[in-house]
Symmetry: C3
Subunit: 425 residues, 3 copies
C-alpha cells in the first residue's frame, strides 16, 4: 500500500516531475530499429515520458530524434521530408540535422536567414539489440550505453517486439516482478489444452505458492521465488530488476536452447506504456517459430506492426472466451503476455495503490517501489541513481528444480558475487 | 427553474454526494436477472451511482454483487472465475464469497495467508420481477424489499427490458412524469401511419392540453392529467411517482388486457442512466409480440442485448427520417421510447435547469424536484426518506374517459385512500 | 512569438471572451445557403463561437437562426418541426418564429399560456454570395452587410464550399496570410506530376523566398510578397486581410479567366473552425470543373457534403503517401487546401505561440495579430473595430510578373488609393 502522494510520486513521469527527472538519467528505448530501417525513409512519431518526438534515419544512416514540432511555427515534423542529412519541415522548408541544428530556411531570402538563432531539441541515441535507445537527460550526466548481454547478441540469437499498453508503466512493471501470479494466472487447466500457458503437470504449477527472497544490488535487485516441490526438492526461479524498468527472467533452461527473456516498460506518458519484449538464446539461433511469439501474444501474429496495437485489447475484453476459461485455461484469454496486459489494464489507467492489500508474496514489488523512491531521492540530491551504471551487463536469470538443501544463490547466480549484494530482504 | 446549486444537488449521485447518499437508502435495480441466469456463469460488470461493481450467480444460485476491483492489487474481477461458491481473481487467485469474505489466497503459502484481514465490498441483493435489486446503503437502514405489484407477478404476466441512456437520470425521470408531452411528441399525423405512436383520433390527442393535479403521498405522489373532451367528457390519466426514480403508468385499460407499465431511471453515474422498462398484465399473459416492444423501441428488436445500447442513438440522430416527420409522425423518429430518449439526451448530459421556463403543465416535475430535495434533507437529518417504506406495493395507474362531473380520484385510484394523501397541489 | 496571455487573448472566442466580443461585431458566415435550400425543410445545426444554434428557412423563405435549445425545458430544436412560419419543438410543441417570439405552447390549455413571457435568442441573418451570414452582436452596433465583390457576383460566376478544420481558427488564418509557405509546401517536384500543386517551372517557385510589404488600411491590410525573378523581373502577389478572418488572393490572372479567391476562417469554437472557400470569376462563368476543386481538395469530391468532414483528416494522416512525397510532391498529401489543413492541424488544437521563432517572412502574420489585438482594444473601449465598415467592397488581389523597377502598388492595386493606406510596414 502506498499513500496517494507516494503513488503520484513514482507513477508520474511528465516534464519536470521527480520520477520523470529520474527516468531521464537512463537510456530509454525510443523505438525499434527496424521502424526506421532505411536511410532517408519516412520519419516516425515517438512519444516518451509525455514528450512528442520524431525519429528518422538520415542519408548517412545516422539516427535523429527531434522535438516533433518545428521551432518556427510549430508544424509537425512527422510530415517532414527526410532529405540529404536532415529532416525538412514541409511548411516553410526549415531543415534540421540530427544534432538539432537548423541548416536551411527556405522561406527567407539568404540575407534574412537566422540559422544560428534556431535550434531544435535533439536527443542522443544509440542503436543496440534492435532497439534505438535515447537519452533525454542532462548531457553531462549521460551514462554508459545499455550493454546488456542480450543487446550485444547477434541478430540471429535475439528477438524483440513491442506493443502499446493502455495503462501506467508501473503497474505493468509490477506484474513483471511478480513471480507469484505466473503459475496461477498463466496456468492451463489440463495438460492437453492446446494453448499458450503453463501445464498443470509443470513443477512451477505443482509446487504451489512461493516464498520470496530479494537481494538488493547496485543495479536494482535479483529476486527469487522458492517453492517446495514434494519432500526433497525446491523449484527456484530468479529474476533481475534493473532500474528503472527492466526485467530479466529465465525463458528456458533446456540444454541447447538455454534462453533469457525480459520486458522493458517504457512510459509513453502517465497513462500509456510501450512494452518491449525480448528473447535471447545463448546457444542455438532463434527459429521463425520463436519469433512468432504464438503463445505469448505480443508478436507480429497478434499485434499490428504499424500501430503496435494488439488485436486483443480493452475494447474487446481481450477476446476472452468464457468456455475456454471454464475448461482449458485459467483466464480464457489467449497469450501469456495478453493475459498480463489484460489484468494490468483492468486496474485502471493508474491503479490506486492506497486501496491495495499486500502480503509476503508481494515482497519484490514492495522493494522495487522502495528502490524507485530512493532513486528519485538520489537524483534530487544531485547523485547518480542505481542502475545507471554498467554493472548489469552480464546479468542472466535462472529457472531450476534443485535439491531442497542446495544453495540456490551459488548454483543459479554465478554472475552476482556476494560482494555486489548490498542487502538481502 | 432551479438555481445551479439546486440542479447540482439533485442530479449528482457520486460517492458522498447528498443525492447519492439518499439514493443509497433505496433498493436499486442493478441488472436483469437473466444476465446472470446460470450458476457459475460469467460475471457481469455493473456500474451504479458511479461505483464499479461486478455481479455473479454462485454455484448455489446465490447472487453476489462485489466491488469490481480485487482488494489485493486492484485487478478487475470481471475477468474472474466463478467457482464453487465464490468469485476468484485470475491475477493471484484470491477468492471471495457473496458476502465479501476472502476464502482463498492462492499466491501465499498456507502459513502466510491473511484471509481474515481482507474483505471486499459486497452489497445485499434481492431478485424480484426479473431484476436483481441491490442495496448500497448503511446495513442498519435497509428498507423492505421492493415488492411492487409488478415485481410479484408471475413471469408470464410481466416483461422487463433495459437500455442505456446517455444523460443524467433526472431529465429522463422528468420526461416520465410529464403527461403533457405524450400526446404531442408521440402523436402520429394520420390514423393510417403504420408506426408506433398515438393516432390523431385517439381521445388523448383530441382532448388537448391538460390541467394537472398532484396528490402528495408518503411514497412520492399520484398525479393526474385531466383533459376536457368535447362538452361532457374528460380524458383522465394517472401516474405514480415513487421516490427516488420510479414511474407507474396505465398501459392499457382494454378489458382482458388491462396492464400497467413503468420505467425506472437508474443512475449509472452522473452522465448516464440505465432505463428499465416494465409491463405488467393483470389478466392474460403477455404475448411474444408484447415482449418485442416493436412500437416502443426499447426491446430486443432495437437494443443490443449484450451491451444494452440502442441502434438508434445520439451518434446517428436516432435515425430521424425528415420525410416521415413531415407526413407520418411528429418526430420522424421510430419508437415511442426512442423519441423520449432522443429528446432527453438532446438537452445535454445534464440539462441546465437555470435556463428553463416552466409553466402550469410542468407541475408534476416541479413537485418531484421538491420531493427529491426534501428526501435529501430528511436523509441528512438522519431520517428515512419517503418511498423507502413498503406502502407502494399495491399501486396501479389508470387511463379513462369519464363524464366531466365524475370524481376521478374515487373511480381511478381505489388503492390510494384519501388518508394517504398528505397534500394536493 | 506571443506570450501565453496574448495567445489566449486572440485565440479564444467563447461567450464573454474579449476576442469573442470582438467577433460579434462582424457579420459571420453561419452556413451555406444551400444547406437550407427549401422553405419548411429540415433545420440544421450551427455552432458559432462556441454557441449552439439551429438554422431553418421558414415557409415564407425567411431564414431563422435560433438558440438550439428550447427555452421551455432545453430540448434541442434540431429535432424540431419547420412549420407554417416557425420552428416547433417536438417535446411540448412550443413554436418560435424567426424573430424568436414564442407563438404557440401546445402543452398548455389556452388559459394557461404565457407566450409573451418567453423569447428565444434569435440572430439577424443576411443571404449573400451563397452564404447565410449572421450577426451575433449588440443590435445597435450592427454593421453594413458583407458586400464583397464576390458576394455580389451572379451565382454563375462564384463558387463556395466549406469544410471543418480541427484546430483553432487563428492558426488557419495565419496559414492563409503567409505567402512564404505557398511555393514551398504546395510545390510539385516535377512538372510532370499529375497532381494539384505548383510546378517547379512556375515563376512563383523559381523566384525563391519573398520580401514582404504590408500596407495597413482601415479594413485590415493589403500585403505583397515580392520575389526577385532573374535579373530584371519580380514576381509580385498581393493579398488582402479583412478583419477579423477574411483572406482575398488572386486565383488567376489569365485573360478571360481572371479570378479572385479567398477563405474565411470561422470559429466553431476555440478548437474547431469552419473554413469557407470561395472563388469568383470576373469574366467567364465558372465551369463544373472549377466547382470540383479537384486540385484543392476542399470541394464535393473530397469533403462529405452533409457533415463537411474531409475524407483526408488527422485520423488517417491526411492519406499521406511517402512514395509520392519522395518523387512527386513536397508533402505527399493530395490537395493544396488539404496540405494547409494537415500542417495547421498538426500544430495541435491551439498552437503554443510562446514557442515559435518568427522571421522577416512572417511579417504579415505579425501585423495581423497586432491588428486583432487592436480591434479587441477598440471594442473594449466602446469603438467600432476596423473591418466592420463597408470600405472593403471593391477589394481584389493580384498576381503578376513585373519589371523590377515597376511600381507594383500602382499597377496591381488600383482600388487601394494611397489615401487609404494608413501605414506601410
Amino acid at each position: 500500500m502506498l499513500s496517494r502522494e507516494e503513488n503520484e510520486l513514482i507513477t508520474r513521469v511528465g516534464q519536470g516531475s521527480p520520477m520523470g527527472n529520474t527516468m531521464r538519467r537512463y537510456w530509454i528505448p525510443a523505438l525499434l530499429a527496424r521502424e526506421i530501417a532505411e536511410p532517408e525513409g519516412p520519419p516516425v512519431r515517438v512519444r516518451l515520458l509525455g514528450e512528442d518526438l520524431v525519429a528518422f534515419r538520415d542519408s548517412e544512416g545516422r539516427i535523429g530524434l527531434l522535438d516533433e514540432y518545428c521551432p518556427h511555427r510549430r508544424a509537425s515534423l512527422f510530415f517532414g521530408r527526410n532529405e540529404e542529412c536532415g529532416l525538412r519541415c514541409v511548411y516553410h522548408g526549415w531543415k534540421f540535422d540530427i544534432a538539432g541544428s537548423c541548416v536551411d530556411q527556405m522561406n527567407e531570402p539568404a540575407e534574412n536567414q537566422f540559422l544560428h538563432k534556431v535550434h531544435i531539441t535533439a536527443y542522443p541515441t544509440v542503436e543496440l539489440g534492435g532497439i534505438v535507445w535515447a537519452y533525454l537527460g542532462p548531457p553531462e550526466r549521460m551514462p554508459a550505453a545499455p550493454k546488456f548481454a542480450w543487446t550485444q547478441a547477434p541478430q540471429t540469437h535475439r528477438h524483440v517486439t513491442k506493443v502499446i499498453q493502455e495503462c501506467n508503466w508501473l503497474q505493468a512493471l509490477e506484474g513483471g516482478l511478480d513471480t507469484s501470479h505466473a503459475p496461477i494466472m498463466h496456468r492451463l487447466l489440463t495438460d492437453n489444452a492446446a494453448r499458450g500457458g503453463i501445464k498443470p503437470s509443470n513443477p512451477y504449477v505443482r509446487a504451489g505458492a512461493p516464498s520470496i527472497v530479494v537481494d538488493i544490488t547496485d543495479y536494482g535487485y535479483q529476486y527469487v521465488g522458492i517453492r517446495d516441490l514434494g519432500e526433497t526438492e525446491r523449484h527456484v526461479r530468479t529474476y533481475h530488476f534493473i532500474l528503472p524498468f527492466h526485467q530479466i527472467r529465465a525463458f528456458s533452461n533446456d540444454p541447447g536452447h538455454s534462453a533469457d527473456a525480459g520486458h522493458i516498460w517504457v512510459p509513453i506518458d502517465d497513462e500509456n506504456a510501450m512494452v518491449y519484449n525480448w528473447q535471447y538464446s545463448r546457444a542455438a539461433p532463434l527459429t521463425d517459430e520463436d519469433r512468432e511469439e504464438r503463445n505469448l501474444g505480443n508478436g507480429p501474429l497478434h499485434v499490428d506492426q504499424t500501430t503496435f496495437r494488439s488485436q486483443a485489447n480493452r475494447q474487446n475484453d481481450y477476446l476472452i472466451d468464457r468456455a475456454v476459461q471454464r475448461t482449458e485455461s485459467f483466464t480464457g484469454i489467449d497469450g501469456i503476455n495478453v493475459q498480463d496486459r489484460a489484468i494490468q489494464e483492468s486496474m485502471g489507467r493508474i491503479v490506486d495503490r492506497s486501496k491495495e492489500h499486500l502480503g509476503p508474496a508481494d515482497k519484490a514489488i514492495i522493494q522495487m517501489r522502495r528502490l524507485l523512491r530512493q532513486a528519485v531521492k538520489t537524483v534530487e540530491e544531485g547523485g547518480t541513481p542505481a542502475g545507471a551504471g554498467p554493472s548489469y551487463y552480464p546479468l542472466r536469470a535462472a529457472l531450476e528444480v534443485l535439491p531442497r538443501d542446495a544453495d540456490w544463490r551459488r548454483i543459479l547466480a554465478p554472475d552476482i558475487t556476494r560482494e555486489r549484494i548490498l542487502e538481502t530482504v
